[in-house]
């Protein structure tokens, strides 16, 4: 990493311990990472490695047992609108229309209705939901629902976008399409993104850096810089090599090497 790039999010020896009946479950231990501004980070790891817990700690939905996570130099204490989160199961309010879902955070912050409408329209256009403003979530397809989820997370203009396997519930075709859309949105909005996935292909396609975590207790195992130019070609030899390297690593890990 170039030393002159500003670090926006830094993990300093982060631990997460869940008290069990008589013992303790260490979900995350000694996690250290510096994330640069406008960087696209994918966190990859076997299931149960604590990657979702890690993301929820950034969001402030889980407390940090030890260490700290700092956003722009300030330690995270709880949830806040400076971090936008996108959920695997969308988490849309079924009684709200598309625009009302997008405006939720603005409403919370007491933004005027005129201002809200302008902002939500901007994000409706950005995620390509024009014409569906007045629809309810149950009238939308999975891909469209997640577009609403992304727009809602972005509407607060957060410093960082947290995505918890956002395309995990989508079919393969929609998933590929949404990945391209996400890259376009990322480039247009210039946000920093932390993206959780268990798909190596998705991580290599999207990320600037792929962080591979160990199985529980989860911590950083390796970090892969993906220097492939965008748009990336899944059929290119470089792509395939990178994917194979990471897949082999995960396979080794599964065999306990």
């Amino acid at each position: 990493m170039d030393g002159d790039e500003m670090s926006i999010l830094s993990f300093k020896d982060v631990w997460k311990v869940f008290p069990q009946d008589k013992t303790e479950l260490v979900a995350v231990k000694e996690f250290n990472l510096e994330v640069e501004d406008r960087e696209f980070i994918c966190i990859l790891g076997p299931s149960g490695c604590g990657k979702t817990t890690l993301l929820r700690m950034i969001a402030g939905l889980e407390s940090i047992s030890r260490g700290s996570i700092e956003l722009n130099g300030k330690a995270i204490q709880g949830p806040g609108s400076d971090r936008g989160m996108v959920f695997q199961d969308f988490g849309l309010f079924p009684w709200r229309t598309v625009v009302k879902n997008i405006e939720f955070g603005l409403e919370i912050r007491g933004i005027s209705p005129q201002e809200r409408e302008k902002t939500s329209q901007k994000y409706v256009d950005l995620v390509g939901l024009k014409g569906f403003e007045r629809s309810h979530p149950n009238e939308l397809s999975g891909g469209m629902k997640q577009r609403v989820g992304i727009a809602r997370a972005l509407a607060n203009d957060p410093a960082i976008l947290l995505m918890d396997e956002p395309f995990g519930a989508l079919d393969a075709q929609t998933r590929n399409q949404m990945q391209k859309e996400l890259l376009r949105i990322w480039q247009e909005t210039k946000k920093t993104i932390i993206f959780i996935t268990h798909s190596v292909d998705e991580a290599v396609f999207l990320a600037d850096r792929v962080v591979v975590m160990t199985s529980r207790p989860g911590t950083v195992r390796t970090i892969h810089n993906i220097d492939l130019p965008r748009p990336r070609d899944r059929a290119s030899q470089d792509f395939i090599n990178l994917r194979k390297t990471i897949l082999d690593e995960l396979e080794q890990q599964r065999q306990g090497v």
Binding site: G60, P79, G84, F93, F104, I108, N138, A153
Partner: protein, 273 residues
């Protein structure tokens, strides 16, 4: 689509609807004729408890205009008196059960505090307590409290269940958007509970109607359909009794279908169907 195809579709729809309407007419006519035949037969063997439809119709006209000879109160007064009690009992139950249900759903400790009592009281049929309510609250408020009791628990339990069913992801989503505890309540929990509340209301309306008639048997100042039914029953004036029974049936159908329409409209508006 050609003209012929279109008229074919129209004919299909007409036939489907036509059959439905025709069968409805057949069903109701058969019901009326069987009733009529049965009343004539029973009368012929000396049992006079089933009045014929025309006797009920005549009684209905007399009740509607001058009032039946026993209570001397026009039918509309009985209906208004029953509705009055019903609305008060219902509104009171809603006003009390909604906040308590929200509280018991949202807070574990208030649930621990409230559940033992509600679990004991819920299985008691309201009518088992009607006499006590009459003695404790008097003839004016006794029937209202009885209706209240019948409506209270379905509303309470449905609201509580609604609050407890709130999708945790929605709570997380709202929290990451910066919602405060109060905002979580007003913008997530409350709207999420509305369809459950509507279900509670629909069930409560049904129970309320069953309860009001019997509650008016104990005492009904100002009249009431239940009082009309009881008065005419003890006098064996069954044609007037059936006027009361049919009035209750019509009012019950109206209120429950109104609440059903409201329930489905609300969930439609809310995109929660």
């Amino acid at each position: 689509m050609t003209e012929k195809e279109r008229s074919g579709l129209w004919w299909e729809a007409f036939r489907r609807e036509g059959v439905k309407i025709a069968l409805t007419v057949v069903s109701l006519t058969a019901f009326l004729l069987i009733w009529w035949g049965f009343s004539i037969y029973l009368d012929s063997i000396g049992l006079r408890y089933l009045p014929s439809p025309d006797e009920v119709y005549n009684a209905f006209i007399i009740s509607a205009i001058d009032g039946d000879p026993f209570t001397q109160l026009p039918l509309i007064n009985h209906i208004v008196a029953s509705l009055n009690r019903f609305v008060w009992g219902f509104a009171l139950a809603l006003a009390v059960a909604l906040p308590i249900g929200l509280l018991m759903g949202a807070s574990k400790y208030s649930r621990y505090l409230g559940m033992p009592v509600t679990e004991i009281m819920r299985p008691i049929p309201p009518l088992a307590l009607a006499g006590f309510f009459f003695a404790a609250f008097g003839v004016l408020y006794g029937p209202i409290i009885t209706v209240f009791y019948g409506v209270f628990f379905p509303v309470l339990y449905n609201v509580m269940f609604g609050v407890r069913s709130v999708d945790p992801i929605l709570m997380d989503a709202a929290r990451t958007q910066g919602a405060s505890r109060l905002q979580l309540f007003s913008k997530v929990i409350l709207p999420f509970t509305v369809p459950y509340l509507m279900t509670g209301i629909t069930i409560g309306l049904g129970i309320g109607w069953m309860v009001i008639v019997a509650a008016e048997w104990i005492a009904a100042p100002g009249g009431g359909v239940g009082a009309l039914i009881l008065s005419t029953y003890t006098n064996g004036a069954y044609q007037y009794m059936f006027v009361g029974i049919i009035s209750v049936a019509i009012l019950g159908i109206l209120t429950t279908s109104l609440s059903r329409v409201l329930e489905s409209k609300v969930s439609q508006w809310m995109g929660m169907k």
